[in-house]
Symmetry: C2
Subunit: 205 residues, 2 copies
Amino acid sequence: MLTLRYSPASPYARKVRIAAIELGLIDKIEFVPTSVAPGQPNDEYTKITPLKKLPVLILDNGDVILDSHVIVEYLDELAGGGKLIPASGPDRWRVKSDHSLLQGMLDSMLLCRYERMVRPEGLKWQAWSDDHWNRAWAGMARFNQKTEVLSRPLDIVQIALACVLGYADFRYADCGWRKAFPNLDAVNERMLSRPSIKISVPPKA
Amino acid sequence: MLTLRYSPASPYARKVRIAAIELGLIDKIEFVPTSVAPGQPNDEYTKITPLKKLPVLILDNGDVILDSHVIVEYLDELAGGGKLIPASGPDRWRVKSDHSLLQGMLDSMLLCRYERMVRPEGLKWQAWSDDHWNRAWAGMARFNQKTEVLSRPLDIVQIALACVLGYADFRYADCGWRKAFPNLDAVNERMLSRPSIKISVPPKA
């Protein structure tokens, strides 16, 4: 049995959950909810990962796999390999680079959220949160133009994109990404017909 | 020819440079200095990567590979595979997870630096910078105990560790990691005898 330390609000954990469902591995994973927040200690979880970030995957032998991009690669291999990430060739590096880009967009969206909604009033630096929001937005604009990425069979890039867009709805409901990026809106609607995507939509904020 | 967009101060770019030297690929890479800073736009570079983070590797065909962990995997494959990252088995996932941990430690050290040294006076949140510093410090404590990791032949974990410690010297010269973590001090001294590590030590801050 594998153990995933996760939170229902974590877009990184959502990505792993969707991948596990699509790879047919969901029944092999026990999901253990975990609470982390900036500026708040969690000694039990820090012993598992000094980074105090979600998710991590814990194997039977005690090995701790992090972060989410490595977990997804591990699960893909466990399912036979080459399922959500091409096993070789130029497409492997394109998919891995797009995955990194989407991870970085999530990182920036989280930093922006911490700045605007978690940091104490009076300590906010507008240029910082604007910069990080602009990175996420510029990333969405980039993917809106990548029609070949949006139309191919499901892979880790589309899954990560669904998590970015779901997180935008969850934390930035009024940001207007649907109007700005109609191709992303279309692919998001199509993906929501998949049980893995639909069941993992974050709870209402 | 490959192009690496980098900065001499970036610990992530240093990791790629060391890996390229150790893999015998350094002559195939043109290094193009690039300036990025939080809150400051760089429109030319944002067109290459919306994340505005260093480094990225640009291939002959125009493909942009990011982030540094993917670049290192790409270079490792270019050099034949399995050189700095085990090609298969449990050690592959241990190395990739340790690499993620060290990446996260660098991320936290950078966030801590931005908070303490870049953010305008009066807007600093002590609990935030302490939290991120504690993550990096707890990570160093973790690796100080991983004597089997420190003593094996050079791999991406040791290279990334050298970059973490070099960055600590560069930006947190008084943090006292050498006294706190004698095993890390010993491995760092040993690694500094390698030309790849020595030549890439960051400039004086």
